[in-house]
């Protein structure tokens, strides 16, 4: 079992590496992490210190991405904003993946009325235009980054649930699960040792794509003025303040948008890369 696992991992890893786009995406993802963690060591400026003498300066060697309307260094704010945007992405997707996996496992493994009930609930949640639901909830609550993460997570778990359920349904009938049951394994052990590990792959792909989606959603919310509350920098709210100065301070607007685009694209390429690498149908070139 273990040897087969490591063999599989090798194959997946080799195929992933052969995919140039996926590798570039992976490098960018790692670079973004490094930049956001090392932010205080990279830049000499503080993200929230006002400087009335250096307002709306265009990009220069001192301020790579220029300064904003209250004299803060845009590059610095984007480095610290990366922390927020990535945090929102990961926490939101973490919540969604956790809920989705539990719901999918329970529905798929136990089946019956519980399955019907949970899946109808998934259908209902899928009916709502997600962005409407998020807006409606956020409008009711105090603006806070935690609510944003929670709400994006709570409205994004349904896909994972369906995915995990489908995996469980197909794995449940395999001989080795039957064997495990025959020798008297508990439900818990069967779920966690025999079923879940096999569903990890597709969930990982889904979660990677989910991070990209969550980063976009956060930026849209902040852009509309109901996302991460200022002065905390996030890519979305740097953009939001940039739109006021679009005509004479393009740097405020251009760079955060590019950062979002490059990051989202990278997560997407990585996600697709993992999917293609794991999918046996894509293994042989016809």
């Amino acid at each position: 079992m273990t040897r087969r696992d490591s063999y599989l991992r090798d194959v997946v890893w080799r195929r992933f590496r052969a995919n140039r786009f996926a590798v570039v995406g992976g490098v960018v993802v790692l670079a973004m992490f490094a930049l956001s963690i090392l932010a205080p060591y990279i830049t000499p400026y503080e993200p929230n210190t006002l400087d009335a003498y250096h307002v709306l300066l265009p990009p220069s060697s001192a301020h790579w991405f220029g300064t904003d309307e209250v004299g803060r260094d845009v590059f610095t704010r984007m480095l610290f904003g990366a922390r927020i945007s990535l945090k929102v992405g990961f926490v939101a997707v973490g919540i969604a993946t956790l809920i989705g996996t539990v719901v999918g496992l329970v529905a798929g493994y136990y089946g019956g009325w519980l399955d019907s009930l949970l899946m109808r609930f998934v259908d209902i949640m899928f009916c709502f235009p997600t962005f409407f639901l998020i807006l409606a909830v956020i409008a009711l609550l105090e603006p806070s980054i935690w609510y944003i993460m929670l709400i994006i997570g709570l409205t994004g778990w349904m896909g994972v649930a369906r995915l995990v359920r489908a995996e469980v349904l197909s794995i449940r009938e395999r001989d080795y699960v039957l064997a495990a049951r025959v020798i008297g394994c508990s439900d818990q052990r069967i779920i966690f040792r025999h079923i879940l590990p096999n569903a990890v792959g597709p969930v990982l792909v889904y979660a990677t794509l989910g991070v990209a989606g969550a980063i976009l959603t956060e930026s849209s919310l902040s852009f509309l003025g109901i996302g991460v509350p200022p002065p905390t920098p996030s890519w979305g709210n740097i953009l939001a303040s940039g739109k006021e100065f679009l005509e004479f301070a393009w740097w405020l607007f251009l760079f955060p948008g590019l950062a979002i685009m490059v990051t989202v694209l990278s997560y997407y390429l990585v996600g697709e890369g993992i999917r293609d690498a794991m999918d046996p149908r894509f293994s042989t070139r016809r």
């Binding site: 409606a136 409008a139 609550l141 849209s220 948008g257 490059v262 694209l265």
Partner: protein, 329 residues
């Protein structure tokens, strides 16, 4: 077919009930009562007026009674009156905004299919070649670009810098004075940027789906048979393969409805288009609860209808479905 339709309609009922329960629950998440919120914005409201409002929304009754009464009114399409100063019925506001959003989304959907299908087919037939790789990057760019950002850049470029396109609304000032053709041209000019951006953003999903579907179909035996009997590649791809690869695209059509409706919030806010998305956003900002609830319910019902239409189209296209075989999930 009729049997299938009836079955589908019946299945919608529990979903509709679920939608109303969730909407009702969302609104009652709010700390304090809706009335408090409305009153907080207007200090002149007396205690007596507050009491009257509370009576009107039945906030003094237990939750299940409130829910029951609310659903009772929903069935008669009565969403209550907007909290906005004009105090008009919510349904009237929605009715006047809905056609704008639906027609814009229809145009986007048509363009999306017209572009995404050929892109997906080309990517599949040139699989792993440079064409495949670069269309992949292009459609991913569409997915990854924050559309509000792209919209503003295009607005700035074409509207402010070059001055060739109008940047907001649907009509120019004083458009009523012009002839019909002028009005149509004017409308088209206003729509160029929002529609191109929305279409660009929606290409990724469908074209990827088409690509995967096409690759799968092209590997099947009947395609090999078609090739073996000497049919040209064109006929094999466009006559034999495409038909079957198109089936799943119909499902995507249904699934993309909530995304389109949700996305309309952003587009309509940026371009000041008087549709349902902007109505919703304004309602959210003003904490206009009856309006928010109304739009939320209508948005979900539209999604249901979209899914139903897609499923019906699927049943029309694929005889295996309409002859009663249960479709797996």
């Amino acid at each position: 077919m009729l049997y299938y339709l009836a079955k589908r309609l019946l299945l919608m009922i529990p979903l509709l009930i679920g939608i109303t329960i969730i909407t009702f629950g969302v609104i009652h998440l709010a700390p304090g009562e809706p009335v408090e919120m409305q009153v907080a914005m207007n200090p002149k409201v007396s205690a007596e007026a507050r009491e009257r409002l509370r009576k009107f929304y039945e906030l003094d009754k237990p939750l299940h009674v409130q829910y029951g009464k609310w659903v009772g009114r929903l069935v008669r399409l009565d969403f209550g009156r907007s909290f906005a100063p004009d105090g008009r019925p919510v349904i009237a506001k929605i009715r006047e905004r809905l056609p704008v959003t639906i027609s814009l989304n229809m145009i986007v959907l048509i363009l999306e299919f017209a572009l995404a299908i050929p892109i997906g087919v080309m990517a599949a037939t040139h699989r792993d070649g440079p064409l495949d790789r670069w269309t992949t990057v292009f459609v991913f760019l569409g997915f990854a670009t924050p559309l509000f950002w792209l919209s503003l850049i295009l607005m700035y470029l074409f509207g402010v810098r070059l001055g060739v396109l109008p940047i907001s609304g649907l009509h120019s000032l004083g458009y009523e004075a012009h002839g019909i053709w002028w009005q149509i041209a004017d409308l088209a000019k206003h729509l160029v940027i929002p529609i191109s951006v929305a279409t660009f953003g929606s290409l990724a999903g469908l074209s990827r789906y088409m690509r995967t579907g096409m690759i799968e179909v092209l590997g099947q035996d009947y395609i090999t048979t078609a090739r073996a009997k000497g049919l040209s590649e064109r006929v094999v791809i466009y006559r034999h393969a495409l038909r079957n690869a198109l089936l799943p695209a119909i499902t995507i059509l249904g699934l993309s409805v909530p995304g389109l409706i949700g996305g309309s919030v952003i587009f309509e806010s940026i371009f000041a288009i008087p549709g349902m998305g902007k109505l919703f956003m304004d309602g959210v900002m003003a904490r206009d609860y009856p309006l928010v609830m109304g739009v939320l319910v209508i948005g979900a019902v539209l999604t249901l209808v979209g899914n139903l239409l897609a499923d019906l189209a699927y049943a029309v296209a694929d005889p295996r479905i309409r002859h009663g075989r249960e479709r797996a999930l």
